[in-house]
Subunit: 812 residues, 2 copies
Amino acid sequence: MKNNQFAIEPVDRTTELKELRATHFIDDSIDQLDDPIAVWQELLHKTVLEAKSQTVFKQKLNNYLATPEMTLGDFLDSQQALTNDIFYRVAMQLLEFDVDIDFKLDNPIEAMKQIKLPIVGEPIKTKSDLLHAWYLLLCTHTKKGQTYLDKLAQAGYFVSFYATTTKPLFFNGKAQAVFDPHQLIRDVVYVEAPLDTDEDGKRDLLKVEILRAKQTADDYRAPVLYTASPYNQGINDEAGSAAMHNVDVPLEPKEPNQLTYADVHYQETPKKLPAKRKIAGEQQEADETFAMESPYTLNDYFLTRGFAVVYAAGIGTKDSDGIRDTGAVSETVSTIAVIEWLAGNRTAFTNKTDNIEIKASWSNGKIAMTGRSYLGTLAVAAATTGVDGLKTVVSEAAISSWYDYYRDGGLVAAPDTFQGEDMDVLATEVFSRMQKPGDYLKIKDFFDQVLQTMTKDQDRQTGNYSHYWDERNYVNNVKNIKADMIMVHGLNDWNVKPRNVGNLWNALRDAPITKKLILHQGQHIYVNGFRSLDFTDMMNLWFSHELFGLDNHAEDLLPDVLIQGNVQPETWTSYEDWQAPTDQKQVFNFEAKELVPETVPVRTAAASFSDHLDPEVFDFYKKHLNVWERDLLTTNHDTKGENQLRDNRLIFKTSRYDHDTYIDGCAQLKIRVAVNEPFGMLSFQLVDYGDAKRLTVSPTILAGKSLSGAYDWRRDNLREFTLQKEATPWKMITKGHINLQNRHNAYQVDELKANDFYDLTVDLQPTFYHLLAGHQLGLVVYATDFATTVRGNQELQYSLQINQCKITLPIK
Amino acid sequence: MKNNQFAIEPVDRTTELKELRATHFIDDSIDQLDDPIAVWQELLHKTVLEAKSQTVFKQKLNNYLATPEMTLGDFLDSQQALTNDIFYRVAMQLLEFDVDIDFKLDNPIEAMKQIKLPIVGEPIKTKSDLLHAWYLLLCTHTKKGQTYLDKLAQAGYFVSFYATTTKPLFFNGKAQAVFDPHQLIRDVVYVEAPLDTDEDGKRDLLKVEILRAKQTADDYRAPVLYTASPYNQGINDEAGSAAMHNVDVPLEPKEPNQLTYADVHYQETPKKLPAKRKIAGEQQEADETFAMESPYTLNDYFLTRGFAVVYAAGIGTKDSDGIRDTGAVSETVSTIAVIEWLAGNRTAFTNKTDNIEIKASWSNGKIAMTGRSYLGTLAVAAATTGVDGLKTVVSEAAISSWYDYYRDGGLVAAPDTFQGEDMDVLATEVFSRMQKPGDYLKIKDFFDQVLQTMTKDQDRQTGNYSHYWDERNYVNNVKNIKADMIMVHGLNDWNVKPRNVGNLWNALRDAPITKKLILHQGQHIYVNGFRSLDFTDMMNLWFSHELFGLDNHAEDLLPDVLIQGNVQPETWTSYEDWQAPTDQKQVFNFEAKELVPETVPVRTAAASFSDHLDPEVFDFYKKHLNVWERDLLTTNHDTKGENQLRDNRLIFKTSRYDHDTYIDGCAQLKIRVAVNEPFGMLSFQLVDYGDAKRLTVSPTILAGKSLSGAYDWRRDNLREFTLQKEATPWKMITKGHINLQNRHNAYQVDELKANDFYDLTVDLQPTFYHLLAGHQLGLVVYATDFATTVRGNQELQYSLQINQCKITLPIK
C-alpha cells in the first residue's frame, strides 16, 4: 500500500509537548520519568485501552516483537537500549501493518519509507526524542486508513474526557473526539425563508434538523457543518420513475435563430414577498426533535469533535412549505436561509403556527457546507450568493450548471444511468411533501401546475440553452463567492460530468479566496473512508482552521490541486493547477482509422458511418448498455463474432505512445461533417487502448464497518480502488456530444442543410489522464449515444471530411 | 409489496390490555378516557415522539388524512364517529405506505388485505375495540419492514424505560428494546478448553468477547446469543490468497479399492490432556475489555432487548491459544467450551497467566448460537455434541459436512467463487494468531507442520471421502442434538451448497426436537433486514420462547418449513416438509436434445461431447466465468455468434410444461456413459428455460441504514429481492458432479476402462423450484466445470448411451 497524508501539521517541540499534555499522554506519571524506555512503556500503558490489569497489559505487549526474536514485553524488561529500529518495528505493528506482507522484521524503517509513513530522522535517545517520535506516531495513519490517534479514539481513549469537556481539543491542528455522541441535542426548528414559492400568501417555513453537543446548552458555541439535502426527508421513487421521459424519440430539425447571450441571459425580476411573520414570543428550547436523520458519514465524524451538524431539505420537502423548482434561484434562497439563521441574520420558529422565535444561540456563526451531488450543488449555489456566515464549502461531485447536467451542446443528454430523467423528474422525486397526504392535499394542484411549467421550460424539444438554464448556471455568479472552496470530483463521474467542476475551477482560478481541488478516480462517490488518502484528516485540518479559526496552516498544507493517478492504486499527486492555460498542446490529424501527428500529410479524404441499426439489434442495445459500450469501443478486427456497431462508428487511433503522457484538461476536436438530413448530432469518446490491469470502477471494501473515529459510534467501511483481477483492452477517458445545429454555442441554432459539410469545434469533458507508453489513444466518432442522447434509430448517414479534422490535446 | 408476518402471537384481550399497560400505552391518562377517539388521540400523542409541544403534535396529525378530504387533526376535533375505514386509512399512513402507490385513499382496507397486513374484523366502536386495534397495529409491519412498535422504538419510545429497567419487557411474545445499548458492559475472558491443540503442555485458553446490559452487574441474568466466528479477530487475506491451490491440473486415474464405510468411519481416539490450570483465585470483574467487535446485525437487535451477546473466534485466533484444524473435533470442542462456561460447567480466567477464575454469573445459562456460513457451521457442530446449556441454534447457510463444501462425488469441487480453496487455505486465512508477531513467533513452526498434515489429509489427488472427511461430517452425530434447530439456507447458495442443509434436514426429520427450516431465494446471505419477511420478529419470538422460557407458542407459530418463491417477489409459503419421502415422481427419458416422458419410446442410441477446448478459448473462459456459464447454458440455435462450447456439452430439454410444477428435493439421474480414458467426470445442471423477469441475484437495498430497532443504535439496510429489469432466457436450478470412478459412493473407487459403458446414479443438489407453465426444463451434461472442478483441458471424449439415461424429479 501507499500512504498519502497531507494533513500532518509540522509543529515545534514545545507545541508537541503542550498538545501531548492537553491530550493526557503527558501527565504526572510521565513527568516523573526520565528514561525514554520507561516513558515509552507508560505511553503504551495509556494506549493499550483494553487492558484493565497489569497482567493483561503485559500479555498485550507480548503480542508485539521489539526485535525479530524478542517480544516487546521482554524487551521492556531487558534493560536494552532503545533504537529507532525497535521503536518503528513496534510502531509498524501498532499501526496494524503485517509482517512479511507489508514489512520485513529486519527492516521496518525501509518499509515505512516505501509506504510513505512519516518517521523521525534523528536517533531516539532521550525522553524528549521519544515524545517527539510518539507525537508523530499519533499523527500517522494505520494500515486501516486512520491516524493512530483516531484508532485510539475508537478504542475509547477520549471517553474519560467527555465529562469535563467544555470546548474543542485540538491535536496537530485537528479537533479531537472529546464530545459524547450519545448526549447530542437534537432539535427541529422552522426557518422563515424570504420566499413564498407555494403562493399561499405566507413566507415558506423550512424544517431544519440540528445535532449539537450537549455543551452547547451551556456556554459552548459550536461551528456548523450544514448539509442541504433535498433527499433527506424521503424520495418519491415510484412517482419519479413514472415521470421519466421517453428517450426513444427522433432527433428533430430546429428552426435557426440568431440569439446572442444577451438574449438568454437571466436577470432576476424582484417578486413581491408576503411580510415576515409577526414574532409572538421567544423560546430557548425547541418544540420538536427527531431520531433518525439521514446522515453523511463525514459529518458523523465531526459530531464528536465539537461541530454541530445541520440537515435541511429545503422548500417542497416533508414538513417544510413551498415548492421546489429544481435549480432555480428560489432553491438557492431556501438553502441560504438556514445559513442566515445560523449566523443570526434570519428568524426561525419553534413550530409552523405559533410564531415563537428560536435563535441559534448555540452556533458560533461560522458555517461550512458539505455533501455530494445535489447536496454539493446546493452548497455551490449557496457560495455564489456570498451569504454571510458561510466560511467554506466542501462540494463533492457538484453540479455547477444544470445545463451541464441534463444537456450538452444543444442536445438532451442524460446523466449516466439516468436516461429519461430531467429537471421535472427530479423535482417530482424530491417533492417529499407528497409523502404526507394531509399536507399534500393542500398543495397537489399547485404542484402539478408548477411541474407543467417546468416541463415546458426545460424544453426537451430543442435541448438549447435558454433563460431557464441561465438562471440555473451558478458559474455566472462565481464573482460573489466569499467562502473558501474545496472541490472534490471523480474523473470518472459521468453522472455529474467533470465539466461541472472544470468550469467552476476555471472561473475561480483568479478569485481572491482559498480554493482547493481534489480529483479522484471514482465515479459519483464520496471519498472519505479511503485508505490511501487522509481526506477526513484534511477536512479536520480545514474545518478547524476555517470554523474554529485555528492557525494550523491548512491553507498551505492542503495541496491546491490533488489528483489521484489512474495507473497505480493509492497514488496521489499534488499539482499547482488543473487544465492550466499554459499547458502544451499535442495535435493529431485524422487519417483512415488513424490519428497521425500534425506534420504528417493526410491521404484520406472522407469516411462515413450510419446511425441506423436493425430494430432487433437496436432493442437489444437499449436493454444491454454494457454490450453497446463494449461493441462501440471494440475495434472491428478485435471482435471474434459479429460487431453490430461495425458500421455505426469510426475509430481513429494513434500509433503506440513511446513515452508516458498526461492529458490535462479538455481535448478539442475540429470536425468537418455532413449528414443526409437537415438535423444531426455527433458523439465522441476518447479512449485509452492498451491491455492493462486498471483500477476497479467502484471502490473495494477493505474492511467493513471498521471506521468510527470515536468510541461506540457509527461505523463506516474502509475502501480503496484496487487493481482489477484481469487486464482490460481499453478504457474510456472522456467524451462529448454536439447537435450539428449548435455549431456556435448551445443557444444559437444554426442552419443545417442535408449533405452539406460544416465545420464545428467540440471541447470534450475535461480530464486528467495518465496514458502509458505502449498504449494508443483512440477517438471514437458516432451519433446516438444509447446511454445519453435521444434514440430515434433514424436513417441517418454521417460523413467526415477527414483531412479537415483534428484533435488537440492539452498536455501537462 | 406483500407482507409476510409469522411472529404475531394471537393473544386474548386481557393479555393485550396487560401488555399495553406494561409498555405504557395504557396509563392514567388513558384510564380516564372512555371515548375511543379520545383514546386514539392520546395514543397518537404518546407515539408522535418528535413533538414536544401540543402545536407540533397537531402539526404532525395534520400530515395525515382521516378521510380523503379531512386531515387527522381536523377529524379529531370534528366530533365525527370513528370507523374502521378511518382508523386503517390513518394506520396505512402511520405504517408509511404511500397513497396511490400502495393504497387508494378511498379503500385502505382493501389494500391492507392485498398486502396481507392484519386488520381487526369487528367494527371499532368502543374504547376496548380501539385498544384491540391499536395492539394489532403495534404488531404490524410498516412498509419499511419492521413492526410499528419497532419503528416507535427507533424513534425513542423506550428510552424513558432505560433508567428503571430491571428485566426484559415482552410485548406480543417478543422482548422489547428497554435496555440502553450505550451502557453495555464489555468483557473479555479466557475460557480454558479441554484441548491442547498447540501441544505446549497447557490447555488452550480461548478469548471470549461479551456484551451485556449493565443490569447484569446487578441481579439481572441474561440469556446469551453466542456467535462463534473464526473470522472475527481478523483474516489473513494475503496469506490465504498465496495458499490457494492450482486447479488447472489434469484429472487422474485412481487406483480401484473395495473400501466400505466401516473403513472410512471416524472414531475418536482419546488424547491425553494436560491437567486443568490450578485456580489461584476468583474475580467478579473482567481484567480486559474491547471496543470494536465484529458484529452480526441480528445480535445487535437483541442487545437492546435483554440478551447478552458473546463472540468467540476459537482456537488459533488472535489472543487465543491453539491451532485450528478446519472442521476437526478439536474445533467443535473449542466452540462448545464457551457454552460450557456460559452454563457454569467450565472455567474461564481473567487473563492468560494469573489463573484467576471469572464466572459467567450474569448468564441465565440458556444459550442460542447464531451466525452464517462458517459461523453457522460451528453452531451445527456444537449442536451435534448435545452440550448442556445450548437451547437452540439458528444456523444460516451452514456446512453440515465439510466434504459437501470442498468435494463432490469423488471430485475436488470448489465452493462458488473460491476455486482453489481447500481446508488448509481456510485454516491459513483464519489463523489470526499470525497477526500478532510476538505470539506468532512461538507457534509458526508448529502451525506450518500442522498445515502440511492438513494438506496431505484433505487429499486433493483423489477427492475421495475418507476418515479425514468423516470426522468433519456433523450429520454423523445428529442423534446427539438436544437443541432446537432453525435452519436457514439460500436455494441459490452455491458457496455452501443446499445439500448441506438438505442432509441435515433429512437427518433431523424424526428427531425429538423442534426444528424449522427457512429456504430463501438468495445466495450466501443473511435474511434479516428483508422487507417481505418478519425474520427478526420470528427470531425474537423464538429466542424469547427458548431462552426466556416465555410461553408464546413460537414452536407452533413459526412454520415448520417456509420457502420463498422464485417467481413473484415477496412470496413466502409454509409447508409441512421439504423433500418429503412421499413426494410424487416425474420421470423423463433422454432423447436427442430432448427429455421425453417415460412412456415415449426413445429413438436415439448415443450422443457424445468433447471436454477439450482450444487453449486460447480455454484461457478466456478461465478468466470469464460468466461467459463460460452463459455459453454452457445457451442452446446452440439461440446463439447469434459462435458458441465455443457447442461441442462440449449436451443439452436435453422437455417440451413446454403446460402447468406450473414444483420440484421438491433432489433430481436423480441415471446415466450410462463411456469415456476414452480410464478416468473421467461428469457435471450436470438442471435449468429452467423460458423468458421471464426473474428475481435479482442479490437483494436490492430499498432503504439504506434505515433499521436499528432501538433509539440511536446501529443501523442496517432494508433489503429485498426485486424483479430484474430485463427478462432472462434461463436460470440454473441445481447441479451435480461425479467422478466416474466413484459410481458407488465417494470412498469406494471403481475400475474404469477406457471406452466401456458404465451405469451411474447421481443425485443433484436438493432444491425447491417453481417451474412456470410454458417453460422447458433442461438438463445440461458436461464434464469440466470451470467454476468448480479441476481444469485439465484434457483430450477427453464422453459418450452417453441415450436410451439408458433417465431423470427423475420429485414433485410436490
